[in-house]
Symmetry: C5
Subunit: 157 residues, 5 copies
């Protein structure tokens, strides 16, 4: 059975090794994915890292993990990276699941690591769903799913 190549793009800037968490989650869940990790210095290097993963490493999909710092300029960086990640997807016609955790999303180191672990794993599952179980996503449309924090759930009248 042939496997799909999936790229894992992450950074040395991040303060938690979310790439390893995503890889662990995918390897624990399926043997149908061949993972290719590509680590770059910062978030703004992620769009082209994914482009290279698509074009030179023949990936079918990517997950891009980053951790913006708490300052205003870090938010701008994250915005630029997100715009590039969307453009890269449009140029390639392939999905990049963006998994960013803002350093100020939790109040303690333990809390932040927990958010990272949860989001990386849940977005790794989204990669798997997009590749193999699109039906699952469709069944959960409008269900208020979240990654890294508890699901918001559907709004009930």
């Amino acid at each position: 059975m042939s496997k799909y190549n999936v790229g894992v793009a992450d950074t040395t800037f991040a303060r938690v090794d979310m790439g390893a968490m995503a890889i662990n989650e995918i390897e624990n869940t399926t043997s149908k994915i061949n993972l290719i990790r590509y680590t770059v210095p910062g978030m703004k290097d992620l769009p082209v890292a994914c482009k290279i993963l698509f074009d030179k490493y023949d990936c079918e999909m990517c997950i891009a993990l980053g951790m913006p710092g708490p300052d205003e300029k870090d938010k701008v960086c994250a915005h630029e990276a997100s715009q590039g990640i969307i453009m890269c997807q449009l140029m390639s016609g392939k999905h990049i699941i963006e998994c960013f955790v803002h350093e100020d999303e939790a109040e303690t180191p333990e809390g932040l690591i927990k958010v990272c672990d949860n989001r990386a794993r849940e977005h790794a599952q989204n990669v798997i769903k997009l590749l193999f179980e699109k039906d699952w996503l469709q069944k959960n449309a409008g269900k208020g799913l979240r990654q890294g924090h508890p699901d918001a759930g559907p709004i009930k009248s």
Copy 2:
């Protein structure tokens, strides 16, 4: 009679199943459209979902439904998604009707669901108009039409 393929891109992030509302509206109105639903995790996955719907599923038009949360960072996400949706249209030369409802657009759950239902259905009608009744749109140019809220109406001197 041949049918047009129309893509319905929506998310598991949304807290109301607007995709189902749009689908219901289209199916109730016409039999000339073949609907293809593509559900992704979040709003920022919508641009490439539409690209795939155009390129791989041979869609003639798409409707992209999403529900940005109430925080500032959700507004930034919606902005990035919108930019990507516009870029996708330019690359494809085809329309994507964007149907976003901000979670803070209504004060009660009932109110929000009503906005969602109304906007999804009215934008579904816009898809139909763009495909089959461009004249209707032209006759309503400058009429202050709205989706999800009452029409603002034309300004009268």
Copy 3:
């Protein structure tokens, strides 16, 4: 004598029929232009409308008319639409004259309609100048011309 096709892209969202004003102005001024009107629901549909006018309707130039509402999110929409309109021009190598009137640009309904009428007509004239009288524009370089409001005029020392 062959005519130029010029696209008029406008919206049902606008509360004043600026498309009709622009069309009236062009028809009153020249018989060398063949107008093709394309009405879409909202401002963010204008970039691809112009792309279609260039690619499928063989237009040489477009005018895109829209009316952003008074809220912050309307300003964001207008910004996204403008970015898309610029991108569309770069992809096509052809001009799109953007004619947006913000709903809060005047204090009375009469005032707003007057701004719309004036701007639509003056930008319609800009379309004509770009097609047939580039010299006129060059002679007026740096002259502080405005559309919809009185000219600011050149700065004098």
Copy 4:
């Protein structure tokens, strides 16, 4: 000796004729440049004007001159124009020297005209340097050069 075509894109919106200043500077400095002037209504028309100067007028480089007004919406226009000018350069692989003077950069009409004249001429010199004297630019790397205002100069420890 063959000459280079250089495009001068400017606007009727500007309140100072900076295009004439740039043209005068280039003509006074070199006979190796053939200037092609292209005047458009506003700043947001500049990106495609440069695209046309590259594609239809065979220009090797452009200078794009504009004068954003003092309001917030003018800053947004300038931002959109700048993004388009950068995109145009990337699509063409050729330089566009952007020469914008904000109407609120000086406190008197005389001061503003002086800023315009100085910036237009210094950026015209930058066009010449990029075409014929790249070495000069390299020798001045990190020197804190400015256009329109006095050089900031290098930072000294």
Copy 5:
């Protein structure tokens, strides 16, 4: 042994000669890189400078160095330059390491020069790692590395 061409794009606007620092660092570290320096007037000229370095000078990678001033409009310039640098990478499928130092990042001239020197050298090392030691980057994923300031380090629970 064949060498890689690496482009060094920098500006005359910057007030510290960071290009020289990056060049010195690369030359001191490896003989496998052939450096091509391309100096432009300002930050917004950097994206196309890198495009030219890729297309005409056959570079495999670039480093783009700039120094935004302290004002709000300088932040906007830096944002536009960053967006263009990301777009250039996507169009070329090659990395550009962005090395920007904001003029207000340090409180004294000595401090600022130190930030510049450190960041230019550490990002020069990132260029080398991306070309020759991708493994090193992967081993440091999630380690909170910084350039120009001390490493933030990994978050520990």
